[in-house]
């Protein structure tokens, strides 16, 4: 099989690396940048440090502090209008996925007319934007290295993505110290989002040797360090490894793409308001068991990344069952509830199966499955 690895973002990484931002932005030739962030981040003091760092390097900074979770199209259009008016020549995003995705959407609209909704899907011919620098403060989305931005379309009441080179950051700065304050719950949810990126890109139809290597390393790091960070949020080594894991997983999936696990997560998120990382984890064991039928070797790799030895003669059913059990034990160990524990009825759960098959991620599934098979997966995950 001939595959390709095409997306790559230069990365500065290590504790304290946020303080390189000023110099790097100056190297990129920017004179005035827009800093995007959410209101809560301001309280941590990181935004002030970043702005001071930029200004000390001779760069003017204006802030858009109105980033909302699951960025609505109306909000990014307002921010883009502000950016155009301020005549900025660079964007620095600091925060989780929402802040980075907002910055990406602004970058799309800098030189392309609104509304953003017209650019949903794969866009190959958008006008380029300005240099975009992403500084994640969670270890999950991988948005700092991906070509996509997820936007909530307020008129359609659904989330969708713009995929474009304009969304690909010019530089990612990975400073693990920024994640030290994350709660155990947020640590688990975000890391499981990264784990979902890794296991799905490893088993997806567009997987390639480089994305596989990145995905495997991400799984190994998360398997080892998420339990440590979950129990001791101040462990900087664990924070460091989780941050790299989420970036590796982001690099893997922006090239190899994710599939049914994310289709299920999108619907669970939309129907029951379950946080994305948690929604990704809920049926992940079943999705990987399903993938074992065609992606047997890849699922074997997942088991091995968790330190499980697989017999050489094991068939896809044994490998799939082992992966399912391993993933479920891991997910439960970091406090992720099942759908029953979340108070959702079995009937409501099974009813979403047809919606899952309509999600765009379904197109890239390893092989086609019916809504009734998706319902079987959901039933298996329901009270597991």
């Amino acid at each position: 099989m001939i595959t390709s690895y095409e997306q790559f973002v230069p990365i500065v990484m290590g504790c304290g690396s946020m303080l390189r931002t000023g110099l790097k932005v100056r190297e990129l030739g920017c004179k005035k940048v827009l800093v995007t962030h959410g209101k809560n981040l301001k309280k941590t003091g990181y935004v002030d440090i970043l702005v001071e760092n930029l200004e000390s390097a001779g760069i003017k900074a204006v802030c858009f502090d109105g980033v909302q979770p699951d960025p609505p199209d109306t909000m990014v259009e307002e921010a883009a209008e502000f950016a155009r008016k301020e005549k900025i020549d660079g964007i620095v995003a600091i925060g989780g996925g929402s802040s980075m995705d907002t910055a990406k959407a602004i970058n799309v609209l800098i030189n392309n007319e609104p509304p953003i909704i017209q650019y949903l899907g794969v866009q190959k011919n958008l006008n380029p934007g300005v240099p975009l620098i992403c500084i994640p403060t969670t270890s999950g989305t991988g948005s700092e290295v991906t070509t996509m931005t997820v936007i909530t379309c307020t008129s359609l009441n659904k989330k969708d993505s713009v995929l474009s080179p304009v969304c690909l950051p010019t530089l990612a700065i990975l400073d693990p110290e920024l994640t030290l304050g994350l709660s155990p719950r947020m640590t688990a949810i975000t890391a499981l989002d990264a784990l979902a990126h890794a296991v799905e890109s490893l088993t997806g139809g567009q997987a390639n040797p480089l994305s596989d290597a990145l995905a495997r390393e991400a799984i190994r790091l998360i398997a080892k360090w998420l339990p440590v960070a979950y129990n001791d949020g101040s462990n900087i080594k664990a924070r460091e490894n989780l941050m790299y894991a989420s970036t590796f997983a982001g690099m893997a999936f922006t090239n190899a793409l994710v599939h049914i696990g994310h289709s299920i997560a999108h619907v669970l998120g939309a129907q029951f308001d379950i946080p994305h990382g948690m929604a990704c984890a809920i049926a992940m064991p079943e999705v990987i068991e399903y993938a074992a039928k065609t992606e047997t070797e890849k699922v074997k790799m997942i088991c091995e990344c968790f330190g499980i030895e697989i017999d050489e003669n094991a068939d896809y059913e044994i490998i799939g069952a082992t992966a399912k059990k391993t993933l479920r034990t891991f997910i439960k160990s970091v406090g992720i509830p099942n759908l029953k524990e979340l108070g959702i009825s079995l009937e409501d759960t099974l009813n979403i199966a047809p919606l899952v098959t309509q999600d765009s991620g379904f197109a890239i599934a390893p092989y086609r499955i019916t809504a009734s098979k998706v319902a079987e997966m959901l039933k298996s995950a329901y009270d597991a």
Partner: protein, 567 residues
């Protein structure tokens, strides 16, 4: 109420009855699938008395919807041994709809060797006329004689000598609107042989004196939606290369990307493709008084047909298409457009499928019987088919028969039917369609080119093939797919139009379920005919040999093929 013309060749009887209630709101491919599974034993001999030959008009036949008057021909295929629906443009379906006929069924076998014409006069009376005087003549001459005898205000559906000889690659030719040329082919699957087996040389349909009044449920609403869709199609067609040039424009995309088959699907690029490309085609039209933008049926806005003249400016052929040019051209290493046009003319005239025939010719080149690039040798072989020599008759049995007979290992067929002009390694979704379509290797069943992430990659190919196969199955029931391609944003309106015409639901699921049900019915017919999963695979060489243009093999997992129709 739509009617059905029932022709029984056992006793030479004809009756006109109301079409069954359950079939009233079906048409084209969907009607054929449902009719065949209920009325034809899937294990029957395709050329025997149990097989039935069907001619069906579409769901919107007789309305003003663009290309609503496409004709579907259906039967058990002598070539594939499975179900077959082959659809065609031309004038016939328009006139059938004006007569209020949605379906013609021709069953049984005549007890004698006489040839007959099914003649539908201007008053809607149908008769079987003696046609022995036309025995052995080919389509162009047949149409000329029919015009001399009955005038020109009619449409013809006919077979040439190939159909009479029961060639498995024989086509049924339909006359084009205005010109009357028998250049529109229901080409695939050897349906001409089924017509030949029933002793029917042609069907002649006079324009009726009184047009059948379509019983619209809500005519005003129908006209409103129809106008909206027709405008959308007209607007989109302005930018469609099929309108501005013709289907030959496809070669400009396929040739540089290794999708165009070259030298029997060798996977190589063909550096001379421009000699048979769009510019050369347009230049020849311009300098010789040819034309493009010709509608093959009344009311078509896409107008992808053409009239191609020889170097002296005399009419040579029409409906000169990409598939024919690609398969007789680059796939045989021939880059002489005029020679290919002559081949097209012979195929239309004797009534054979250009795709099947050109692939059979490529087998002769692969085996060394004739040389690659030798257009004269190809024309000689086609003349052998016309004359019915021993080798000509072998050619008439199609690509697989010729390949096997000559000891060729690389035979590009699925379900015994030869592939069209897309290399399945470099448009893998099309390869999935070739493998899994109940019709055999048929590009019109779901051509995914440009619709997945990377034509030579695996991602989303099965998804694209599935979605397109469903869409085409319902589109084949209501219009020409060239029109369909120009109205994709308006697809949900098709359900509203069905509701305005027939009543019932206006939900899109009504239209989608026509596609799904048709595919599943066709698969069930094939299963009962004895086909298995093994019939849903490409020939080995596509899995083993790399395309030299891209390095790609057909590396689609069997599980993706096995689950393609899990709905």
């Amino acid at each position: 109420m739509w009617s059905k013309l029932v022709v029984n060749m056992d006793n030479l009887s004809i009756s006109r009855v109301a079409l069954e209630e359950e079939f009233q709101d079906l048409g084209g491919r969907s009607l054929i699938a449902q009719y065949l599974i209920k009325n034809v034993p899937p294990t029957c001999d395709p050329l025997g008395e149990e097989n039935v030959l069907l001619f069906a008009t579409g769901i919107f036949a007789g309305t003003r919807f663009a290309t609503a008057n496409r004709l579907s021909v259906g039967s058990k295929s002598p070539l594939t041994g499975g179900i077959k629906e082959s659809n065609v443009g031309g004038y016939a379906a328009t006139l059938l709809a004006e007569h209020g006929i949605k379906l013609i069924t021709i069953s049984g076998l005549p007890k004698d060797d006489n040839l007959r014409i099914l003649y539908i006069d201007k008053n809607g009376n149908a008769n079987l006329l003696d046609a022995n005087e036309y025995k052995g003549i080919n389509n162009y001459e047949f149409v000329e004689k029919i015009h001399e005898r009955f005038g020109k205000d009619l449409a013809t559906i006919s077979i040439g000598s190939a159909g009479e000889r029961l060639y498995k690659c024989s086509s049924i030719q339909v006359s084009e609107y205005n010109s009357g040329h028998p250049s529109r082919a229901a080409g695939r699957g050897g349906l001409g042989a089924v017509m030949g087996s029933k002793g029917i040389k042609g069907i002649v349909i006079e324009k009726p004196e009184e047009k059948y009044e379509i019983p619209y449920k809500d005519k005003e609403k129908f006209e409103e939606i129809c106008l909206k869709l027709n405008r959308m199609i007209a607007e989109s067609a302005k930018k469609d290369p099929f309108h501005n040039i013709g289907t030959i424009s496809t070669i400009e995309v396929t040739a540089p990307n290794g999708i165009l088959p070259v030298a029997n699907f060798s996977g190589k690029l063909f550096k001379d493709y421009k000699k048979v490309g769009a510019n050369k085609f347009m230049e020849n039209l311009k300098t010789r008084g040819g034309r493009n933008k010709i509608p093959c049926q009344p009311g078509c806005i896409v107008q992808c047909s053409n009239c191609y003249n020889d170097e002296n400016g005399n009419y040579l052929t029409s409906g000169f298409e990409y598939e024919t040019i690609a398969m007789f051209g680059p796939n045989c290493l021939i880059s002489d457009l005029d020679a290919i046009a002559k081949m097209d003319r012979i195929c239309d005239d004797i009534g054979v499928d250009t795709i099947e025939t050109a692939n059979a010719i490529a087998m002769c080149m692969e085996a060394g019987k004739i040389n690659w690039s030798d257009a004269d040798a190809v024309l000689n072989l086609l003349n052998e088919m016309a004359e019915g020599t021993e080798f000509g008759r072998l050619l008439g049995q199609g690509c697989e028969a010729v390949g096997k007979s000559l000891g060729v290992e690389r035979i590009p067929v699925v379900k015994h039917q030869a592939m069209a002009a897309y290399d399945p390694r470099n448009t893998k979704g099309t390869g999935i369609t070739y493998a899994t379509s109940p019709m055999g290797a048929d590009h019109t069943a779901g051509l995914t080119m440009g619709r997945a992430f990377d034509d030579s990659g695996r991602t989303a190919q099965a998804y694209a093939s599935n979605k397109l196969q469903v869409a085409i199955a319902f589109a084949d029931s209501m219009m020409c797919i060239m029109t369909f391609a120009n109205m994709v944003p308006g697809v949900p309106l098709l359900a509203e139009m069905m509701a305005a015409l027939y009543g019932g639901s206006s939900d899109f699921s009504r239209v989608a379920s026509i596609g799904v049900k048709t595919l599943l019915t066709e698969r069930e017919f094939n299963r009962r005919a004895g086909m298995t999963d093994a019939d849903d695979r490409l020939p080995d060489f596509f899995y083993k040999e790399r395309s030299f243009a891209t390095g790609s093999k057909f590396d689609i997992h069997d599980m993706e093929l096995r689950t393609i129709f899990d709905f």
